[in-house]
Amino acid sequence: MAEPFGGSRAGEALRAYRLIAGMWIRSSMTYRASFVVTVFGNLLVTGLDFVAILLMFSQVDSLGGWSLPEVAFLYGLSATAFGLADLTFGSMDVLGRRMRDGSFDILLVRPAPVLAQVAADHFALRRLGRITQGVLVLGWGLLTVDVDWTTAKVLLLPVMLVSGGVIFCALFVAGAAFQFLAQDAAEVQNAFTYGGTTLLQYPPTVFGKDFVRGVTFMLPLAFVNWVPAAYVLERPYPLDLPRWTSFASPLVAVACCALAGLAWRAGLRSYRSTGS
Protein backbone atom coordinates (compact mmCIF):
# COMPACT_ATOMS: atom_id res chain seq x y z
CA MET A 1 0.00 0.00 0.00
CA ALA A 2 1.20 3.49 -0.80
CA GLU A 3 1.96 5.58 2.23
CA PRO A 4 3.12 9.20 2.17
CA PHE A 5 6.54 9.91 3.65
CA GLY A 6 7.72 13.00 5.48
CA GLY A 7 8.10 14.65 8.86
CA SER A 8 4.39 15.02 9.37
CA ARG A 9 4.07 11.25 9.11
CA ALA A 10 5.97 10.66 12.35
CA GLY A 11 3.96 13.39 14.03
CA GLU A 12 0.78 11.82 12.82
CA ALA A 13 1.87 8.42 14.16
CA LEU A 14 2.73 9.89 17.56
CA ARG A 15 -0.58 11.72 17.71
CA ALA A 16 -2.52 8.54 16.85
CA TYR A 17 -0.51 6.59 19.43
CA ARG A 18 -1.20 9.22 22.10
CA LEU A 19 -4.92 9.31 21.39
CA ILE A 20 -5.36 5.51 21.39
CA ALA A 21 -3.14 4.98 24.42
CA GLY A 22 -5.03 7.75 26.23
CA MET A 23 -8.30 6.00 25.53
CA TRP A 24 -7.02 2.72 27.00
CA ILE A 25 -5.68 4.56 30.06
CA ARG A 26 -9.03 6.23 30.66
CA SER A 27 -10.76 2.88 30.32
CA SER A 28 -8.41 1.20 32.82
CA MET A 29 -8.84 4.14 35.23
CA THR A 30 -12.58 3.48 35.40
CA TYR A 31 -11.80 0.73 37.90
CA ARG A 32 -9.16 2.45 39.98
CA ALA A 33 -8.79 -0.16 42.72
CA SER A 34 -8.46 -2.90 40.12
CA PHE A 35 -5.81 -0.81 38.35
CA VAL A 36 -3.74 -0.35 41.51
CA VAL A 37 -3.97 -4.07 42.30
CA THR A 38 -2.87 -5.05 38.78
CA VAL A 39 0.11 -2.65 38.82
CA PHE A 40 1.15 -4.21 42.11
CA GLY A 41 0.57 -7.71 40.74
CA ASN A 42 2.60 -6.87 37.64
CA LEU A 43 5.42 -5.71 39.88
CA LEU A 44 5.29 -8.98 41.84
CA VAL A 45 5.12 -11.21 38.75
CA THR A 46 8.13 -9.56 37.15
CA GLY A 47 9.93 -9.51 40.50
CA LEU A 48 9.91 -13.32 40.61
CA ASP A 49 12.92 -13.34 38.25
CA PHE A 50 14.89 -11.33 40.77
CA VAL A 51 13.66 -13.50 43.65
CA ALA A 52 15.15 -16.44 41.73
CA ILE A 53 18.49 -14.62 41.61
CA LEU A 54 18.29 -13.77 45.32
CA LEU A 55 17.51 -17.41 46.13
CA MET A 56 20.55 -18.48 44.12
CA PHE A 57 22.76 -15.98 45.93
CA SER A 58 21.43 -17.22 49.28
CA GLN A 59 23.37 -20.39 48.44
CA VAL A 60 26.48 -18.97 46.72
CA ASP A 61 28.61 -15.80 46.76
CA SER A 62 29.09 -15.49 43.03
CA LEU A 63 27.55 -16.73 39.80
CA GLY A 64 29.82 -17.17 36.79
CA GLY A 65 32.35 -15.07 38.72
CA TRP A 66 29.97 -12.10 39.17
CA SER A 67 28.85 -10.78 42.56
CA LEU A 68 25.22 -10.09 43.52
CA PRO A 69 25.48 -6.25 43.10
CA GLU A 70 26.97 -6.75 39.63
CA VAL A 71 24.21 -9.17 38.66
CA ALA A 72 21.64 -6.75 40.12
CA PHE A 73 23.12 -4.02 37.91
CA LEU A 74 22.72 -6.24 34.82
CA TYR A 75 19.24 -7.25 35.92
CA GLY A 76 18.14 -3.66 36.52
CA LEU A 77 19.36 -2.54 33.10
CA SER A 78 17.72 -5.48 31.32
CA ALA A 79 14.42 -5.26 33.20
CA THR A 80 14.11 -1.47 32.88
CA ALA A 81 14.97 -1.40 29.16
CA PHE A 82 12.58 -4.27 28.53
CA GLY A 83 9.92 -2.58 30.68
CA LEU A 84 10.10 0.56 28.52
CA ALA A 85 9.61 -1.51 25.36
CA ASP A 86 6.90 -3.63 26.98
CA LEU A 87 4.96 -0.49 27.96
CA THR A 88 5.12 1.11 24.52
CA PHE A 89 5.02 -1.91 22.16
CA GLY A 90 4.19 -4.85 24.43
CA SER A 91 0.59 -5.36 23.32
CA MET A 92 1.50 -6.35 19.80
CA ASP A 93 0.87 -10.02 20.47
CA VAL A 94 -2.89 -9.34 20.15
CA LEU A 95 -2.21 -8.73 16.46
CA GLY A 96 -2.55 -12.43 15.57
CA ARG A 97 -5.95 -12.54 17.29
CA ARG A 98 -7.07 -9.42 15.42
CA MET A 99 -6.09 -11.00 12.12
CA ARG A 100 -7.96 -14.19 13.00
CA ASP A 101 -11.19 -12.48 13.98
CA GLY A 102 -10.95 -9.97 11.13
CA SER A 103 -10.83 -6.84 13.29
CA PHE A 104 -7.37 -6.01 11.90
CA ASP A 105 -9.12 -4.79 8.75
CA ILE A 106 -10.67 -1.99 10.79
CA LEU A 107 -7.20 -0.67 11.64
CA LEU A 108 -6.28 -0.66 7.94
CA VAL A 109 -9.12 1.65 6.92
CA ARG A 110 -8.54 4.19 9.70
CA PRO A 111 -6.65 7.32 8.62
CA ALA A 112 -3.71 6.69 10.97
CA PRO A 113 -0.46 4.72 10.62
CA VAL A 114 -1.16 1.02 11.23
CA LEU A 115 1.97 0.42 13.32
CA ALA A 116 1.03 3.22 15.72
CA GLN A 117 -2.48 1.80 16.06
CA VAL A 118 -1.24 -1.74 16.67
CA ALA A 119 1.38 -0.60 19.17
CA ALA A 120 -1.12 1.45 21.16
CA ASP A 121 -3.79 -1.26 20.99
CA HIS A 122 -4.64 -2.47 24.50
CA PHE A 123 -2.08 -0.02 25.93
CA ALA A 124 -1.63 -1.17 29.53
CA LEU A 125 -0.38 1.36 32.03
CA ARG A 126 -0.16 -1.47 34.59
CA ARG A 127 3.12 -2.36 32.86
CA LEU A 128 4.62 0.52 34.83
CA GLY A 129 4.92 -2.20 37.47
CA ARG A 130 7.68 -3.89 35.48
CA ILE A 131 9.57 -0.62 34.95
CA THR A 132 9.24 0.27 38.64
CA GLN A 133 10.61 -3.12 39.64
CA GLY A 134 13.51 -2.82 37.18
CA VAL A 135 14.36 0.69 38.38
CA LEU A 136 14.30 -0.42 42.03
CA VAL A 137 16.74 -3.26 41.38
CA LEU A 138 18.91 -1.01 39.19
CA GLY A 139 18.99 1.62 41.94
CA TRP A 140 19.98 -0.97 44.53
CA GLY A 141 22.62 -2.35 42.17
CA LEU A 142 24.06 1.13 41.56
CA LEU A 143 24.23 1.84 45.29
CA THR A 144 25.96 -1.40 46.20
CA VAL A 145 28.17 -2.12 43.20
CA ASP A 146 31.86 -1.28 43.46
CA VAL A 147 32.61 1.08 40.56
CA ASP A 148 34.99 4.04 40.05
CA TRP A 149 32.48 6.37 38.49
CA THR A 150 33.65 8.62 35.67
CA THR A 151 31.66 11.07 33.54
CA ALA A 152 31.68 8.65 30.63
CA LYS A 153 30.30 5.82 32.80
CA VAL A 154 27.51 8.02 34.21
CA LEU A 155 26.56 9.26 30.74
CA LEU A 156 26.51 5.70 29.45
CA LEU A 157 23.70 4.72 31.86
CA PRO A 158 20.81 6.60 30.17
CA VAL A 159 22.25 5.70 26.76
CA MET A 160 22.09 2.00 27.71
CA LEU A 161 18.50 2.23 28.95
CA VAL A 162 17.23 4.07 25.87
CA SER A 163 19.16 1.98 23.31
CA GLY A 164 18.22 -1.20 25.16
CA GLY A 165 14.57 -0.16 25.18
CA VAL A 166 14.71 0.59 21.44
CA ILE A 167 16.37 -2.79 20.68
CA PHE A 168 13.54 -4.54 22.53
CA CYS A 169 10.94 -2.36 20.72
CA ALA A 170 12.44 -3.50 17.40
CA LEU A 171 12.10 -7.10 18.60
CA PHE A 172 8.42 -6.55 19.38
CA VAL A 173 7.85 -5.03 15.93
CA ALA A 174 9.71 -7.90 14.24
CA GLY A 175 7.62 -10.33 16.28
CA ALA A 176 4.46 -8.57 15.13
CA ALA A 177 5.64 -8.78 11.51
CA PHE A 178 6.18 -12.51 12.01
CA GLN A 179 2.52 -12.86 12.98
CA PHE A 180 1.54 -12.00 9.41
CA LEU A 181 3.19 -15.29 8.47
CA ALA A 182 2.02 -17.40 11.38
CA GLN A 183 -0.96 -15.94 13.19
CA ASP A 184 -1.37 -18.68 15.79
CA ALA A 185 2.32 -18.74 16.57
CA ALA A 186 2.42 -15.42 18.44
CA GLU A 187 4.12 -17.21 21.32
CA VAL A 188 7.32 -17.60 19.31
CA GLN A 189 8.14 -13.95 19.92
CA ASN A 190 8.02 -14.57 23.68
CA ALA A 191 11.11 -16.72 23.29
CA PHE A 192 12.98 -13.67 21.99
CA THR A 193 11.42 -10.87 24.05
CA TYR A 194 10.83 -12.45 27.46
CA GLY A 195 13.59 -14.97 26.84
CA GLY A 196 15.91 -12.12 25.86
CA THR A 197 15.33 -10.07 28.98
CA THR A 198 15.68 -13.19 31.14
CA LEU A 199 19.06 -14.21 29.74
CA LEU A 200 20.42 -10.66 29.97
CA GLN A 201 19.69 -10.75 33.70
CA TYR A 202 22.57 -13.19 34.10
CA PRO A 203 26.29 -12.57 33.40
CA PRO A 204 27.54 -13.56 29.93
CA THR A 205 30.10 -15.86 31.58
CA VAL A 206 27.23 -18.16 32.57
CA PHE A 207 26.41 -19.04 28.96
CA GLY A 208 28.22 -21.11 26.37
CA LYS A 209 30.44 -19.27 23.90
CA ASP A 210 28.30 -20.13 20.84
CA PHE A 211 25.22 -18.96 22.69
CA VAL A 212 26.87 -15.60 23.48
CA ARG A 213 27.99 -15.31 19.84
CA GLY A 214 24.39 -15.83 18.76
CA VAL A 215 23.00 -13.10 20.99
CA THR A 216 25.81 -10.70 20.02
CA PHE A 217 26.02 -11.02 16.24
CA MET A 218 22.75 -12.61 15.13
CA LEU A 219 20.28 -11.18 17.61
CA PRO A 220 22.29 -8.31 19.11
CA LEU A 221 20.78 -8.47 22.60
CA ALA A 222 24.25 -8.26 24.14
CA PHE A 223 24.25 -4.53 23.34
CA VAL A 224 21.32 -3.93 25.70
CA ASN A 225 23.53 -4.38 28.76
CA TRP A 226 26.32 -7.01 28.56
CA VAL A 227 28.70 -5.06 26.33
CA PRO A 228 28.21 -1.52 27.75
CA ALA A 229 28.11 -2.91 31.31
CA ALA A 230 31.53 -4.48 30.72
CA TYR A 231 32.87 -0.92 30.33
CA VAL A 232 31.10 0.38 33.45
CA LEU A 233 32.10 -2.58 35.64
CA GLU A 234 35.57 -2.87 34.02
CA ARG A 235 34.94 -6.53 33.31
CA PRO A 236 36.43 -8.58 30.45
CA TYR A 237 34.43 -7.99 27.27
CA PRO A 238 32.21 -10.84 26.09
CA LEU A 239 33.93 -12.59 23.15
CA ASP A 240 36.91 -10.20 23.57
CA LEU A 241 35.08 -7.45 21.70
CA PRO A 242 37.06 -4.19 21.29
CA ARG A 243 36.41 -1.44 23.84
CA TRP A 244 34.61 0.91 21.48
CA THR A 245 31.73 -1.57 21.13
CA SER A 246 30.57 -0.44 24.59
CA PHE A 247 29.43 2.78 22.96
CA ALA A 248 27.91 1.13 19.90
CA SER A 249 24.51 0.35 21.46
CA PRO A 250 22.71 3.35 19.87
CA LEU A 251 23.97 2.34 16.41
CA VAL A 252 22.87 -1.25 16.98
CA ALA A 253 19.47 0.03 18.10
CA VAL A 254 19.05 2.12 14.94
CA ALA A 255 20.04 -0.83 12.75
CA CYS A 256 17.55 -3.08 14.58
CA CYS A 257 14.78 -0.52 14.02
CA ALA A 258 15.56 -0.31 10.30
CA LEU A 259 15.42 -4.11 9.93
CA ALA A 260 12.26 -4.40 12.03
CA GLY A 261 10.66 -1.62 9.98
CA LEU A 262 11.44 -3.46 6.75
CA ALA A 263 10.04 -6.69 8.18
CA TRP A 264 6.88 -4.89 9.28
CA ARG A 265 6.36 -3.33 5.83
CA ALA A 266 6.91 -6.68 4.13
CA GLY A 267 4.47 -8.33 6.52
CA LEU A 268 1.82 -5.65 6.09
CA ARG A 269 2.07 -5.83 2.31
CA SER A 270 1.59 -9.61 2.37
CA TYR A 271 -1.54 -9.38 4.52
CA ARG A 272 -4.64 -11.05 3.14
CA SER A 273 -7.83 -10.56 5.09
CA THR A 274 -9.72 -13.60 6.39
CA GLY A 275 -12.42 -12.55 3.99
CA SER A 276 -15.25 -13.63 6.24
Binding site: S34, L44, G64, A186, G195
Partner: protein, 266 residues
Protein backbone atom coordinates in the same frame (compact mmCIF):
# COMPACT_ATOMS: atom_id res chain seq x y z
CA UNK B 1 -24.62 -43.72 28.72
CA UNK B 2 -22.61 -44.66 31.80
CA UNK B 3 -21.20 -41.74 33.73
CA UNK B 4 -17.67 -43.07 33.18
CA UNK B 5 -18.16 -42.78 29.44
CA UNK B 6 -19.56 -39.28 29.83
CA UNK B 7 -16.44 -38.00 31.58
CA UNK B 8 -14.24 -39.86 29.13
CA UNK B 9 -16.02 -38.03 26.31
CA UNK B 10 -15.42 -34.70 28.08
CA UNK B 11 -11.73 -35.56 28.48
CA UNK B 12 -11.43 -36.48 24.82
CA UNK B 13 -13.09 -33.18 23.96
CA UNK B 14 -10.53 -31.32 26.07
CA UNK B 15 -7.71 -33.15 24.31
CA UNK B 16 -9.05 -32.47 20.82
CA UNK B 17 -9.79 -28.84 21.53
CA UNK B 18 -6.15 -28.09 22.31
CA UNK B 19 -4.91 -30.37 19.52
CA UNK B 20 -6.63 -28.07 17.01
CA UNK B 21 -4.09 -25.26 17.34
CA UNK B 22 -1.02 -26.80 15.72
CA UNK B 23 0.92 -23.58 15.03
CA UNK B 24 0.35 -22.40 18.60
CA UNK B 25 1.62 -25.76 19.87
CA UNK B 26 4.73 -25.54 17.70
CA UNK B 27 5.32 -22.00 18.99
CA UNK B 28 4.97 -23.26 22.55
CA UNK B 29 7.50 -26.03 21.95
CA UNK B 30 9.96 -23.49 20.59
CA UNK B 31 9.49 -21.09 23.51
CA UNK B 32 9.78 -23.84 26.14
CA UNK B 33 12.97 -25.07 24.48
CA UNK B 34 14.57 -21.60 24.44
CA UNK B 35 13.68 -21.00 28.09
CA UNK B 36 14.98 -24.45 28.94
CA UNK B 37 18.36 -23.66 27.39
CA UNK B 38 18.61 -20.33 29.26
CA UNK B 39 17.67 -21.96 32.58
CA UNK B 40 20.07 -24.87 32.07
CA UNK B 41 23.00 -22.49 31.68
CA UNK B 42 22.09 -20.57 34.86
CA UNK B 43 21.56 -23.80 36.84
CA UNK B 44 24.86 -25.22 35.60
CA UNK B 45 26.61 -22.04 36.79
CA UNK B 46 24.88 -22.34 40.16
CA UNK B 47 25.68 -26.04 40.59
CA UNK B 48 29.23 -25.33 39.43
CA UNK B 49 29.58 -22.90 42.31
CA UNK B 50 27.88 -25.22 44.79
CA UNK B 51 27.91 -28.88 43.76
CA UNK B 52 25.20 -31.11 45.30
CA UNK B 53 22.96 -28.15 46.10
CA UNK B 54 19.64 -29.54 47.33
CA UNK B 55 21.00 -33.07 46.99
CA UNK B 56 21.15 -32.83 43.18
CA UNK B 57 24.21 -33.22 41.02
CA UNK B 58 24.54 -31.22 37.76
CA UNK B 59 22.85 -33.86 35.58
CA UNK B 60 19.92 -33.98 38.01
CA UNK B 61 19.61 -30.18 38.01
CA UNK B 62 19.52 -30.25 34.19
CA UNK B 63 16.88 -32.99 34.26
CA UNK B 64 14.83 -30.86 36.65
CA UNK B 65 14.94 -27.90 34.23
CA UNK B 66 13.69 -29.92 31.25
CA UNK B 67 11.03 -31.64 33.31
CA UNK B 68 9.87 -28.18 34.39
CA UNK B 69 9.59 -27.06 30.76
CA UNK B 70 7.75 -30.30 29.96
CA UNK B 71 5.22 -29.88 32.78
CA UNK B 72 4.85 -26.08 32.52
CA UNK B 73 1.91 -26.22 30.12
CA UNK B 74 0.85 -29.76 31.09
CA UNK B 75 0.06 -28.77 34.66
CA UNK B 76 -0.84 -25.18 33.71
CA UNK B 77 1.65 -24.11 36.36
CA UNK B 78 1.09 -20.41 35.69
CA UNK B 79 -2.64 -20.92 35.02
CA UNK B 80 -4.38 -21.00 31.68
CA UNK B 81 -6.04 -24.43 31.93
CA UNK B 82 -9.69 -25.33 32.41
CA UNK B 83 -10.05 -22.75 35.20
CA UNK B 84 -9.79 -19.93 32.69
CA UNK B 85 -12.95 -21.08 30.86
CA UNK B 86 -14.70 -21.77 34.14
CA UNK B 87 -13.96 -18.24 35.38
CA UNK B 88 -15.31 -16.80 32.14
CA UNK B 89 -18.48 -18.89 32.40
CA UNK B 90 -19.03 -17.77 35.98
CA UNK B 91 -18.47 -14.13 34.99
CA UNK B 92 -20.88 -14.26 32.05
CA UNK B 93 -23.48 -16.40 33.81
CA UNK B 94 -23.11 -19.33 31.38
CA UNK B 95 -22.33 -21.40 34.46
CA UNK B 96 -26.11 -21.71 34.92
CA UNK B 97 -26.13 -24.03 31.90
CA UNK B 98 -23.37 -26.16 33.43
CA UNK B 99 -25.30 -26.44 36.69
CA UNK B 100 -28.34 -27.75 34.82
CA UNK B 101 -26.36 -30.60 33.29
CA UNK B 102 -26.94 -34.07 34.76
CA UNK B 103 -23.24 -34.29 35.56
CA UNK B 104 -21.04 -33.42 38.50
CA UNK B 105 -19.59 -29.92 38.00
CA UNK B 106 -16.19 -30.66 39.54
CA UNK B 107 -15.73 -34.00 37.73
CA UNK B 108 -16.86 -32.45 34.45
CA UNK B 109 -14.17 -29.76 34.63
CA UNK B 110 -11.58 -32.19 35.97
CA UNK B 111 -12.17 -34.50 33.00
CA UNK B 112 -11.78 -31.63 30.55
CA UNK B 113 -8.59 -30.47 32.26
CA UNK B 114 -7.09 -33.99 32.26
CA UNK B 115 -7.72 -34.18 28.51
CA UNK B 116 -6.03 -30.81 28.06
CA UNK B 117 -3.08 -31.86 30.23
CA UNK B 118 -2.61 -35.07 28.26
CA UNK B 119 -2.43 -33.16 25.00
CA UNK B 120 -0.08 -30.52 26.40
CA UNK B 121 2.15 -33.30 27.68
CA UNK B 122 2.28 -35.32 24.44
CA UNK B 123 2.00 -32.46 21.95
CA UNK B 124 4.02 -29.80 23.69
CA UNK B 125 5.95 -31.18 26.65
CA UNK B 126 7.76 -34.23 25.30
CA UNK B 127 9.75 -32.52 22.53
CA UNK B 128 11.61 -29.96 24.71
CA UNK B 129 12.35 -32.79 27.16
CA UNK B 130 13.81 -34.97 24.41
CA UNK B 131 15.75 -31.96 23.08
CA UNK B 132 17.24 -31.52 26.55
CA UNK B 133 18.12 -35.20 26.82
CA UNK B 134 19.89 -35.11 23.45
CA UNK B 135 21.92 -31.93 23.96
CA UNK B 136 22.61 -31.88 27.70
CA UNK B 137 23.70 -34.52 30.21
CA UNK B 138 20.61 -35.75 32.04
CA UNK B 139 20.04 -38.18 34.90
CA UNK B 140 17.36 -40.47 33.52
CA UNK B 141 16.64 -43.98 34.84
CA UNK B 142 17.25 -46.87 32.47
CA UNK B 143 14.91 -49.11 34.45
CA UNK B 144 11.15 -49.33 33.78
CA UNK B 145 10.08 -49.16 37.44
CA UNK B 146 10.95 -45.47 38.12
CA UNK B 147 9.29 -44.46 34.84
CA UNK B 148 6.10 -46.31 35.85
CA UNK B 149 6.19 -44.65 39.28
CA UNK B 150 6.76 -41.31 37.52
CA UNK B 151 3.60 -41.75 35.41
CA UNK B 152 1.56 -42.30 38.58
CA UNK B 153 2.96 -39.15 40.22
CA UNK B 154 2.16 -37.22 37.04
CA UNK B 155 -1.49 -38.29 37.24
CA UNK B 156 -1.68 -37.26 40.88
CA UNK B 157 0.12 -33.99 40.08
CA UNK B 158 -2.49 -33.24 37.41
CA UNK B 159 -5.30 -33.73 39.93
CA UNK B 160 -3.64 -31.51 42.57
CA UNK B 161 -2.92 -28.83 39.98
CA UNK B 162 -6.55 -28.90 38.85
CA UNK B 163 -7.85 -28.81 42.44
CA UNK B 164 -5.85 -25.64 43.19
CA UNK B 165 -7.05 -23.88 40.02
CA UNK B 166 -10.66 -25.04 40.53
CA UNK B 167 -10.72 -23.43 43.98
CA UNK B 168 -9.29 -20.23 42.53
CA UNK B 169 -11.87 -20.21 39.74
CA UNK B 170 -14.77 -20.57 42.20
CA UNK B 171 -13.68 -17.37 43.93
CA UNK B 172 -14.97 -15.52 40.85
CA UNK B 173 -18.51 -16.27 42.09
CA UNK B 174 -17.83 -13.62 44.73
CA UNK B 175 -15.15 -11.46 43.09
CA UNK B 176 -16.71 -11.17 39.59
CA UNK B 177 -13.37 -10.16 38.11
CA UNK B 178 -10.78 -12.83 37.41
CA UNK B 179 -7.77 -10.60 36.80
CA UNK B 180 -6.44 -10.54 40.36
CA UNK B 181 -7.08 -14.25 40.89
CA UNK B 182 -5.23 -15.12 37.71
CA UNK B 183 -2.27 -13.02 38.80
CA UNK B 184 -2.25 -14.70 42.20
CA UNK B 185 -2.40 -18.13 40.52
CA UNK B 186 0.52 -17.18 38.31
CA UNK B 187 2.73 -15.88 41.12
CA UNK B 188 2.03 -18.71 43.56
CA UNK B 189 2.22 -21.33 40.80
CA UNK B 190 5.59 -20.25 39.46
CA UNK B 191 7.17 -19.63 42.85
CA UNK B 192 5.82 -22.48 45.01
CA UNK B 193 5.97 -25.15 42.28
CA UNK B 194 9.70 -24.63 42.03
CA UNK B 195 9.79 -23.19 38.53
CA UNK B 196 12.34 -20.56 39.63
CA UNK B 197 14.51 -23.00 41.58
CA UNK B 198 14.03 -26.61 42.75
CA UNK B 199 12.22 -26.53 46.09
CA UNK B 200 14.91 -28.68 47.70
CA UNK B 201 17.44 -25.93 46.91
CA UNK B 202 15.42 -23.29 48.81
CA UNK B 203 17.29 -22.07 51.89
CA UNK B 204 16.41 -22.78 55.54
CA UNK B 205 12.91 -22.37 56.95
CA UNK B 206 11.54 -21.12 53.63
CA UNK B 207 12.60 -24.44 52.12
CA UNK B 208 10.89 -26.38 54.92
CA UNK B 209 7.65 -24.50 54.27
CA UNK B 210 7.53 -24.65 50.47
CA UNK B 211 8.23 -28.38 50.48
CA UNK B 212 5.01 -29.18 52.37
CA UNK B 213 2.68 -26.85 50.43
CA UNK B 214 0.41 -28.41 47.77
CA UNK B 215 2.42 -26.91 44.90
CA UNK B 216 5.30 -29.23 45.85
CA UNK B 217 3.12 -32.03 44.43
CA UNK B 218 3.36 -30.54 40.94
CA UNK B 219 6.98 -30.51 39.81
CA UNK B 220 9.21 -31.42 42.76
CA UNK B 221 7.51 -34.76 43.53
CA UNK B 222 7.48 -36.11 39.95
CA UNK B 223 11.10 -34.95 39.50
CA UNK B 224 12.25 -36.65 42.71
CA UNK B 225 10.40 -39.85 41.87
CA UNK B 226 11.84 -39.96 38.35
CA UNK B 227 15.38 -39.44 39.61
CA UNK B 228 14.99 -41.83 42.55
CA UNK B 229 15.46 -39.06 45.14
CA UNK B 230 12.38 -40.02 47.12
CA UNK B 231 10.35 -43.11 47.94
CA UNK B 232 7.45 -43.24 45.42
CA UNK B 233 4.98 -44.33 48.12
CA UNK B 234 5.82 -41.25 50.18
CA UNK B 235 5.29 -39.07 47.12
CA UNK B 236 1.94 -40.74 46.31
CA UNK B 237 0.76 -40.25 49.90
CA UNK B 238 1.73 -36.58 49.87
CA UNK B 239 0.08 -35.90 46.51
CA UNK B 240 -3.05 -37.94 47.26
CA UNK B 241 -3.51 -36.22 50.64
CA UNK B 242 -3.40 -32.78 49.06
CA UNK B 243 -5.64 -33.91 46.20
CA UNK B 244 -8.31 -35.13 48.62
CA UNK B 245 -8.11 -32.03 50.83
CA UNK B 246 -8.24 -29.58 47.92
CA UNK B 247 -10.97 -31.41 45.99
CA UNK B 248 -13.07 -31.60 49.18
CA UNK B 249 -12.52 -27.89 49.76
CA UNK B 250 -13.57 -27.30 46.16
CA UNK B 251 -16.83 -29.18 46.73
CA UNK B 252 -17.55 -27.20 49.89
CA UNK B 253 -16.95 -23.87 48.20
CA UNK B 254 -18.93 -25.02 45.18
CA UNK B 255 -21.98 -25.89 47.27
CA UNK B 256 -21.73 -22.57 49.11
CA UNK B 257 -21.46 -20.73 45.81
CA UNK B 258 -24.38 -22.46 44.13
CA UNK B 259 -26.62 -22.00 47.17
CA UNK B 260 -25.88 -18.41 48.08
CA UNK B 261 -24.75 -16.65 44.97
CA UNK B 262 -27.06 -15.23 42.33
CA UNK B 263 -25.92 -16.19 38.86
CA UNK B 264 -24.94 -13.31 36.60
CA UNK B 265 -27.42 -12.58 33.87
CA UNK B 266 -26.85 -10.91 30.54
Amino acid sequence: MGSGRLYLAVAVGGFRRYATYRAATAAGIFTNTVFGVILVYTYLALWDEKPHLGGYDQAQAVTYVWLGQCLYATLAIQGGGAEKDLMERIRTGDIAVDLYRPADLQLWWLAGDVGRALFQMLGRGVIPFVFGAVFFPMALPTDVTPWAAFVVTLLLATVVSFAIRYLAALSVFWLMDAMGVNQALMITGIFFSGMVLPLNAFPGALGEIVRVLPWAAQLQMPADVLMGETDPLRAYAFQAAWAVVLLAAGRLVQSAATRRVVVQGG
